[in-house]
Amino acid sequence: MSVLKNLIRDSLVYLTSGRKSYHIWMALLTFLMLIGMYCYSLQLEHGLSVTGMNDRVSWGLYISNFTFLVGVAAAAVMLVLPAYVLKDIDFKQAVLIGEGLAVAALFMCLAFVIADMGGPARLWHMIPVIGVFNFPNSMLTWDVLALNGYLFINLSIPFYILIMRYQGKTPNPKIYIPGVFISVFWAVAIHLVTAFLYQGLQARPFWNNALLGPRFLASAFAAGPSLIIIALAVIRKFTDFKIDDKTIKKIALVVTVAAQINLIMLISELFKEFYAPTHHSESAYYLFFGLHGKSALVPWIWTAITMNVTATVILTFHKLRNNLNVLYFACILLFLGIWIEKGFGLIVPGFIPGPWGKIAEYLPTYTEIGVTIGIWAMGAFIFSILARTGIAIELGKIKLKK
């Protein structure tokens, strides 16, 4: 217990000191979080009518971001797998960062879900025994179990490792390796379960296809590690934490393969929708070409596809991929492209046209955007704290004083 107290105290001391750029970064994030909180208070007061959602498009920006971030969280496993299972030492340094990213992403997911709820004060209704937990019928309940379990794993294992290092002891592989293995399978599960949320709805033909789950996995493993690469680049620049070029290049390889598979799946989907279009292809038409004059998402999706294709092409060429600056640029492109394509480029067209063919377009309001930015800022904040503490412990900057 006292170890924990010391760890928290030492971490807090460490976290509140740093370079000017660090303070400016944290201050900016805090400011954005406050904006987010204010916007959320507006939403609590007036109800979800302050967002742009309506009876036709009942899920919008919040659930789009949730879907995307579950993928990012699942991607931490892409580092864990080679590091511990394939015993590739190059990955070991990146694992802690990856886990930190997963935790931050999971907190963001939970925040987006709560922000999207019509009655957040009644969320206790989901707790088994005192409420009603509709497991195994409702995929949402599977998702609740999967996400919270994954959060637990991703908090406990790095915590164990770090608290050992903090005390100067070596973490016992017998304790954390089983957890690591579980987390590999669990990561695949969380994203598959989230995909099944949409895949299981026979009412929405845009989602009700067999490829949605695998597509989610492919795009997750492209977007997540891209973010990790960017994070590692920032860490290299601003801290003394040593990360080899080799590590980054290996992660880049993972991103490349995932991005290529993602592209193949995209081609498969486009073929299915447009080779012999049926009534069920209307959503795809709306997304890619506009339907009956409504084309709000068309510029977005084509930008996203351009970004994805460009990034994938860049990454395919060894020369370009191994040039770190080009790599970072490609990663940013890929991350943004997939954020659009898998976020509102997936959720919103699922609802358009509505069940009776009516088109009601969706445009997020400023309040909604405010809450979204606030939650992203919160995620960045959590990640900064976790990464900084983790790196400090690894480097020995924070040590338990005997």
């Binding site: 309506n54 036709r56 195994p136 019928n137 009516k358 088109i359 009601a360």
Partner: protein, 190 residues
């Protein structure tokens, strides 16, 4: 269709379920009695269906004709000095070759209608008249697919009659405007 998760309902579809559950059907405890208590009704058996219809004669303003008119009809028809009766009713039902006043109204008895074969038909059972030409609608009506049900869904059934909705002299329904315009929905679409 039944998914593998649904173990309770073993039916292939709803029709099978209905057929199975109605095998031991016992009449429900709910009834429309309270809603139709004050209604004057007549029981009929049409097309092997037994149900009630609202009584009609008490609703006709100047029925019975013979209560006031003491002279026999044949005399009224020959009188030249009296204004022609029912001058305000125009007949717009099929065409002049098919229908005129005496197609339905009895020439000899003002208080009765008559069938094509000149059998008298009571005003309360005027549907017998309409069903001569409109067999399809009549069968639907007897089954319950045509006309409003008065009271409720629970038995006993009371069906509105033909003349309850259709004016026999001018059965055509005029066009009208819808009862509402949802501006929210219209905005949403545009």
């Amino acid at each position: 269709m039944v998914s593998c998760k649904d173990k309770k309902d073993e039916y292939h579809n709803i029709i099978d379920k209905i057929e199975d559950l109605s095998k031991d059907y016992k009449p429900v405890s709910l009834s429309s009695e309270t809603y139709i208590e004050t209604l004057n009704k007549v029981e009929v058996i049409e097309n092997w269906q037994r149900f009630y219809i609202p009584e009609r004669k008490s609703q006709i303003k100047s029925f019975e004709c013979n209560e006031c008119h003491s002279k026999p009809l044949s005399e009224l028809q020959n009188e030249k000095s009296i204004k022609k009766s029912h001058w305000d009713i125009t007949l717009k039902h099929a065409n002049q070759e098919t229908m005129n006043c005496v197609t339905c109204h009895s020439e000899n008895n003002m208080d009765k209608l008559h069938s094509i074969t000149n059998k008298p038909i009571d005003f309360n059972l005027s549907h017998k008249l309409c069903s001569q030409c409109h067999q399809k609608q009549y069968k639907d009506w007897a089954g319950g697919a045509h006309s409003k049900q008065i009271g409720g869904w629970a038995p006993p059934r009371v069906s509105q009659t033909c003349v309850g909705c259709h004016d026999p002299h001018k059965p055509h329904f005029d066009k009208r405007w819808p009862a509402r315009y949802n501006t929210q929905m219209a905005d949403e679409r545009n």
